[in-house]
Symmetry: C2
Subunit: 306 residues, 2 copies
């Protein structure tokens, strides 16, 4: 059961699970790429609606929790709302899973934000967590509740802390996903605005590699609970823009605006634990991933949204 199965990560994950022949359900407000998900049991519902959520869970052994109603920027505009819309329903999800029993929860957390301005780069899971966004406080609080529910109720869970994933099905509707936004702008010949001068360094990872990690987290029997999933490679936004321009063979009209305090200068994850414990490592080079993302846009798939 993929909560948020209609989103970027959820669509990619659902496709993989379906390709494996697994009984796959998805839950969320919208499922724009349902045509690409034959066989998916789609449950339309609002995560904040306990009854809708309760109806979707029975019959599934693994629950992937990928829903978050905000992005870092929007969460900061109303931290209370972020808490109410995300942490409170996540806690209800844990209560439901506790009551139903026999389920693993795989929670998608944010390696790019929970550490805040990390002093150690690449950043391991053991680094201090000093969030600069309400989004990250919510993600971290849900992680704490997962650990609490394991202690109190034996809840089975894993957490994946992701950096900046990119790839097919990432359409720039929520102001998230700079690579999809760059490709989309380039295709339309429209200008694209970024915050800051393009010097911020991020850890970009191709979505197929993220889905590999999700599959590994589904099966993991180790004593570890929280895993950074990242390339370990830092890349400036300027370099990313250069790569996309080169691979598309066209210039993008990038406009710079004031940097945001919530954007730390540099975020790169140390994924040594995932490699050691899950046997996971990224297989897709950055430019190869960008190439495959461009190919997806060129296939017209983005226009198949419904």
């Amino acid at each position: 059961m993929v909560l948020g199965g209609g989103g970027f990560l959820g669509t990619n994950l659902s496709r993989r699970l379906l390709a494996r022949g697994l009984r796959t359900g998805a839950f969320g407000l919208r499922c724009p790429f349902r045509a690409d998900l034959p066989g998916l049991a789609w449950h339309a519902g609002d995560f904040r609606d306990p009854a809708a959520l309760a109806a979707a869970l029975p019959g599934y052994e693994i629950v992937f929790h990928l829903i978050h109603t905000t992005v870092p920027f929007s969460a900061n505009l109303d931290a209370g709302r972020d808490l109410t819309e995300n942490v409170a329903p996540s806690l209800r999800l844990l209560d439901l899973c506790r009551d139903l029993g026999g389920r693993r929860v795989v929670f998608i957390s944010s390696g790019g934000t929970v550490y805040g301005a990390a002093t150690q780069l690449p950043t391991p899971e053991s680094a201090p967590t000093n969030p600069l966004t309400a989004y990250a406080v919510s993600k971290l609080t849900i992680e704490k509740y997962l650990a609490l529910y394991e202690n109190l109720h034996g809840l089975d869970y894993r957490v994946l802390r992701l950096p900046n994933p990119f790839g097919p099905y990432q359409v720039p509707t929520k102001g998230q996903g700079v690579i999809g936004a760059l490709i989309s702008s380039a295709r339309k010949g429209e200008p694209m605005t970024i915050w800051g001068d393009g010097s911020v360094v991020r850890d970009y990872i191709f979505v197929d590699d993220v889905v590999d990690a999700m599959e590994a987290a589904m099966a993991d029997a180790s004593g570890e609970r929280v895993f950074n999933i990242g390339s370990g490679q830092g890349r400036s936004l300027r370099e990313v823009i250069d790569s996309v321009e080169r691979l598309m063979g066209r210039r993008i009209d990038v406009r710079m605006t004031a940097a945001r305090p919530l954007d730390v200068p540099k975020s790169v994850l140390d994924a040594a634990r995932a490699e050691k414990t899950l046997g996971w490592r990224p297989k897709t080079g950055f430019e190869d991933g960008v190439r495959r993302t461009i190919a997806w846009w060129d296939s017209g798939a983005a226009e198949r949204t419904r």
Copy 2:
């Protein structure tokens, strides 16, 4: 303005502030020892009621946030409720303080629970936080929001992580405060039930020393934000019972029941940062504190509750 000014810590703090001649207000559901707080501006109100809270804050430069509706045990029975009743209203408090401006928030957190089963003893502020109770998740989440609001909005704050405080005005109504409960049971000649065999080790600190730390946090101009406040001395519950019995000159009928998983075997705080930065250190020896607590009960003050 002391939020929770009618409680154990709040009454002690309010008395001190009034003794200093400071304009002192208090907010909360009840103020049982109001007779001992002449000059206090009492605002009866529910912390979950935004309008009541908003009405209490203007005119005060420092806001002490001491309200929590649960104790560790009760919080675990309904984590969602703990979140809704404590974290959400605390976030509204921060919004109010941001909007009003010019206020410092001193938040009372829980050094005895936010670290969980710490491997480092005494435990410093930099130790990992792995809560075993929803109470501690809530406390920790509020700490994270305070840091976030400083970053986003320049909110001025300090956090004090307390261990097991004891002293006058701690009456055993919420199942919290073993020393007050022991004294009360001894005075009534009633049996007293404890969880486990009395081997759990805690860091007990006399309330006057806690109030010293609160005053220091009010004035602190350092770059530090979070302070452990503790004696650095571990004491088993068995030793505490022995001390109370000896100092009262009577036996207490202590009945043991099954230990609770939420009670870590040992919790002792390292308060070196508070000593270095706030110039704070506890002045009251354990037995001296117990003696003064017994004297308070003997004065009949507990019966003056209204």
